[in-house]
């Protein structure tokens, strides 16, 4: 069966809708190929001209595969696979002749919708792709109908999809989940993501701070602690090369990194994927969970890279009991500086060492120096020269947290106090609607720790000296209005802010209950319902699906019955049965008018009464306007009460 222009038009429109989100992350030439081929195919359909010959199509397919391989170096993996799928779909259009070809392209469209979920799984994307699925199903239905009616196809496929939802929910809840991946495809995990990186150089954190993306969300079991105490510890950086700080020897995992005391804080972190090993927690974590470990300098590390959103629970206590002495290896590392560079800072450090022999005084003096001198806290610091610390300390004096942390640790080390840089996040925004804390990339922060004998590692935040409001209430309070922090996050309009928070709340629930519904969560949820193993899951799945199907069948059957259950028809059928006993049987095909005429011939005595009844019945059944219920009741009563005398025919 040939394919009509309407169906081709629908097909092209539907596929374009499905492809639209893909264009955001695929090379431009793929979109261009799609548009060109779609237009070509549409013109072919409009002009009823022939499809390109097989040789041309074959050449195009070869060219497409070559182009994809040239772009990605492979045809496997997510990005290359999706690109290949789209290009092949475009070329498939050039040989759409029959219904069967349409069905194949629509199958591919469903695959494309699925592959879009590998890129993004937000609520909005789900809504968009649900609409796309509706279109695909409608086009499918349209291509199967012998009389094409777009409205009917849209309506019926909407009904069909909505009716499919209950069974889908049962399957989603109960279908036994296993931990993926079943196999590994190249290029799946090398996706770059924003987040704290493994090194810190001037400008790296201020750049990160301009992103509103969520880094992680935290739910506290008993109230959110004070904003100023929320230091989310990330990578600890020891090694300075004159410009950037790194951690050259990844910390060895230890059993307990520090003895702690104080009131424990229990919280759950829902971390967005950042493709790194580290996790974030509050000082001082006492018990890392399974699949994670803690290093000697307090970095919480996952055993595998975080490539998808995870949720983990931590317990922290505020007080640590450090050993009296710093181990020699750590001491050496915490004092090491490059052999050359930044002479003026070294000079300042020696002067501080001379003037203030007590380390505590020295620290206080340096922080005061930051606070008093014309140091400015800004998101757009000027570029620094080769001697970056000198440049910052004596020339520009404008910097973001990484500048202060870097200069502070340098000066501390130069004056003989062991010190290190800690990166991570500070603070977060409390969402009252969902009772959780949102920590964004804009909350990225760098601070320092210095070793003081008898006290151990003490957290010193130089930023607090220059911009205390950053620590107490968050970044937006610390920066002047002109700072280029983007987005609604910074808005002062109350209700807009509420809206943003409400939206984040929805996203959080979505992440927690839908996107993270994997083997663990399923196990937890089903255990509460008393379903503990696969056998029971399979059983419940079958039972519930059958129940839903049975309910549908019941309701459809019931609505069918209503036609026959019309009481007037019932009474008429009963009357006919009674007449049949008298020998006047009504064949199925005989209408009331003919029947009445026959009764008149065979039994004129009965007709006197039956004639008007049959006439009224005829009027009631076949008139266009709706009859009122009283006349219906009256007719039923008359049909029932008619006396049928058994007399011989005249």
């Amino acid at each position: 069966m040939a394919v009509s222009v309407t169906v081709i038009g629908w097909l092209l429109a539907t596929l374009s809708v499905v492809l639209l989100p893909h264009t955001l992350h695929l090379p431009v030439w793929i979109t261009a190929v799609w548009i060109a081929v779609a237009l070509w195919r549409y013109l072919i359909a409009r002009r009823r001209s022939g499809l390109p010959p097989a040789l041309v199509r074959f050449a195009l397919v070869l060219a497409a595969i070559t182009a994809v391989v040239a772009q990605y170096g492979t045809v496997l993996g997510r990005d290359a696979g999706v690109s290949l799928l789209i290009v092949m779909l475009a070329l498939k259009l050039l040989e759409v002749r029959q219904q069967r070809d349409i069905i194949i392209t629509l199958f591919l469209a469903y695959f494309l919708i699925l592959s879009q979920f590998l890129f993004e799984q937000s609520v909005l994307m789900l809504v968009y792709l649900a609409l796309a699925s509706w279109l695909v199903t409608s086009t499918w239905m349209l291509s199967q109908q012998s009389v094409v009616s777009s409205r009917r196809a849209l309506r019926q496929s909407a009904i069909l999809l909505l009716q499919s939802v209950p069974v889908m929910l049962v399957l989603f809840l109960l279908f036994p989940r296993i931990q993926g991946p079943l196999w590994k495809l190249p290029g799946d995990s090398e996706v770059s993501r924003t987040g704290i990186s493994d090194h810190m150089s001037p400008g790296s954190i201020s750049k990160l701070s301009q992103s509103n993306e969520v880094a992680f969300r935290v739910e506290f079991d008993q109230g959110t602690p004070d904003h100023a105490t929320l230091y989310w510890r990330g990578p600890v950086l020891w090694d300075f090369d004159g410009r950037s700080w790194r951690d050259r020897y990844r910390g060895q995992a230890v059993e307990h990194w520090v003895e702690t005391s104080g009131r424990p804080i229990t919280y759950q972190v829902i971390l967005e994927p950042h493709n790194r090993h580290w996790l974030f927690g509050l000082d001082y974590i006492i018990d890392p969970g399974i699949n994670m470990s803690i290093s000697g300098d307090g970095q919480l590390l996952a055993h595998t890279k975080i490539t998808k959103r995870i949720r983990y629970e931590l317990i922290s206590r505020p007080v640590a009991h450090w050993p009296a002495q710093l181990p020699a290896a750590q001491l050496q590392r915490a004092l090491k500086l490059p052999g050359y560079g930044n002479p003026r800072s070294r000079e300042l450090a020696e002067q501080l060492h001379r003037d203030y022999p007590d380390p505590q005084h020295r620290i206080r003096q340096l922080l005061q120096h930051f606070g008093q001198d014309p140091f400015t806290y800004t998101l757009t610091p000027p570029l620094l020269g080769r001697n970056s610390v000198d440049d910052f300390m004596f020339n520009t004096r404008r910097g973001f947290c990484e500048h202060y942390a870097s200069a502070f640790v340098f000066l501390m080390r130069a004056s003989g106090i062991p010190a290190r840089v800690v990166t991570g996040y500070q603070g977060g925004e409390y969402n009252q609607l969902g009772d959780y804390l949102i920590v964004r990339q804009s909350d990225a922060h760098a601070w320092t720790e210095v070793w003081l004998d008898q006290q151990g590692w003490v957290r010193i935040d130089p930023t607090a000296a220059i911009a205390p409001e950053r620590i107490e209430s968050g970044i937006e309070a610390a920066l002047p209005d002109a700072a280029p922090v983007s987005g609604l996050l910074r808005t002062d309009i109350g209700f807009l802010r509420d809206l943003v928070l409400a939206w984040d709340g929805i996203n959080n629930l979505w992440n927690l209950w839908v996107l993270s519904y994997g083997p663990d969560l399923q196990n937890k949820v089903l255990r509460q319902l008393g379903i503990i193993n696969w056998t029971q899951m399979a059983m419940w799945m079958t039972v519930l699906c059958s129940l839903i199907v049975f309910l549908y069948l019941f309701f459809w059957w019931k609505s069918e019955r209503e036609v026959i259950d019309d009481p007037v028809v019932k009474a008429y059928t009963r009357l006919c049965q009674r007449l049949a006993k008298l020998g006047i049987k009504r064949p199925l095909w005989e209408g009331p008018a003919n029947y009445a005429r026959r009764i008149q011939r065979q039994r004129p005595d009965l007709f006197a009464e039956l004639g008007p009844i049959l006439h009224d019945y005829q009027v009631l059944r076949y008139q266009t306007a709706d009859s009122d219920s009283s006349s219906r009741q009256d007719l039923i009563r008359r049909m029932r009460q008619t006396r049928l005398k058994r007399t011989t025919a005249v």
Binding site: M141, M168, L182
Partner: protein, 320 residues
């Protein structure tokens, strides 16, 4: 291939001819996935595997939604046939070699519309409104005279998505009379005497000379002699009668054609003669070995004669 195997299996228990209306109930509807359906199932499996591989909840949702869609479309396909009432409609006789059109009435007693119901191989009824009757014509090629019935009729549907096909078999008790193939090149009818009747008539012009009066029309009377000038109480027309046509008629006899030898050729010629006489509104009678039809005219008479020719020595109906 799958469909053929299923057809054979499902048609195995098909009962004998079913008179009257037949309601398609649950136990006589068969259902199987189509080739599209099988591929759809395969696609679902691939989707499920990728959902597991990427541990992607939304991919699971889409896969399960489509799986559920499959299940529901299966039910809807079944429902599209369930409860349908099949009945034979009136069908017109044809000449051998022509295509007989069997009229099949599909009644939808329910409240919902039904779509794309296929009768036979490819006769589609696109839409059947609630509580209404649709009509499809089932073509059957005829080859020889006699009665013909459509045999085993399949009523099927693949609505809504062609993922599954439901079908039911029906052996309707309807038949069409197939007249012999008329011999178009036949010579004009010959005069022939009929032994014992003492009446001999010659072939002569058909138009009557003298108007004899009017009588009430009865179905089967030649339409050319109707008059609407005078109508009875029911508004039916009257029939003009002429003297010539009252008394005598032309006898078409088996003897006059028996020299042709072959039975079928004889019947073909007689058939042609009947048609010619009928076209001229003549009165004619037919004599076959063992059967005699008195001279008359009109469509009813024509059918009677042609039917006699059709069934001559072949009482059994054709099957296919």
């Amino acid at each position: 291939m799958l469909q053929q195997w299923a057809d054979r299996l499902s048609a195995r228990h098909l009962a004998a001819l079913e008179p009257g209306a037949v309601r398609l109930h649950r136990r006589r509807i068969y259902i199987l996935p189509t080739v599209h359906g099988l591929f759809f199932g395969l696609a679902l499996l691939v989707m499920l595997l990728s959902a597991i591989n990427y541990s992607n909840s939304l991919a699971f949702i889409l896969t399960f939604l489509l799986g559920s869609l499959f299940l529901l479309s299966l039910i809807k396909t079944h429902h599209n046939l369930l409860g349908l009432v099949l009945r034979c409609g009136p069908s017109r006789p044809v000449f051998a070699g022509q295509t007989a059109m069997f009229e099949i009435n599909l009644h939808n007693p329910g409240k919902r519309e039904r779509y794309d119901i296929i009768a036979g191989d490819d006769t589609v009824l696109p839409i059947l409104a609630a509580d209404s009757t649709g009509r499809v014509l089932l073509p059957v090629q005829t080859h020889q005279r006699g009665y013909i019935s459509p045999g085993r009729v399949r009523v099927s549907t693949a609505y809504p998505l062609s993922l599954t096909r439901a079908w039911s078999w029906w052996k309707p008790e309807c038949k069409v009379c197939v007249y012999p193939r008329p011999e178009t090149t036949a010579p004009p009818p010959v005069k022939s005497g009929l032994a014992g009747s003492g009446q001999t008539t010659a072939s002569r012009p058909a138009q009557g000379d003298e108007f004899a009066g009017l009588r009430e029309y009865t179905p089967g009377d030649p339409i050319s002699r109707l008059t609407w000038r005078r109508q009875n109480a029911q508004g039916m027309p009257s029939l003009k009668q002429f003297h010539d046509q009252v008394d005598s008629g032309l006898w078409l006899t088996w003897e006059s054609v028996s020299h042709l030898g072959d039975t079928e050729r004889c019947l073909s010629r007689l058939c042609q003669w009947v048609l010619e006489c009928d076209a001229r509104n003549e009165r004619y009678g037919l004599v076959l070995p063992g059967e005699q039809i008195e001279p008359a005219s009109g469509s009813e008479h024509r059918h009677q004669c042609l039917q006699a020719l059709a069934l001559y020595r072949s009482p059994q109906a054709q099957r296919n």
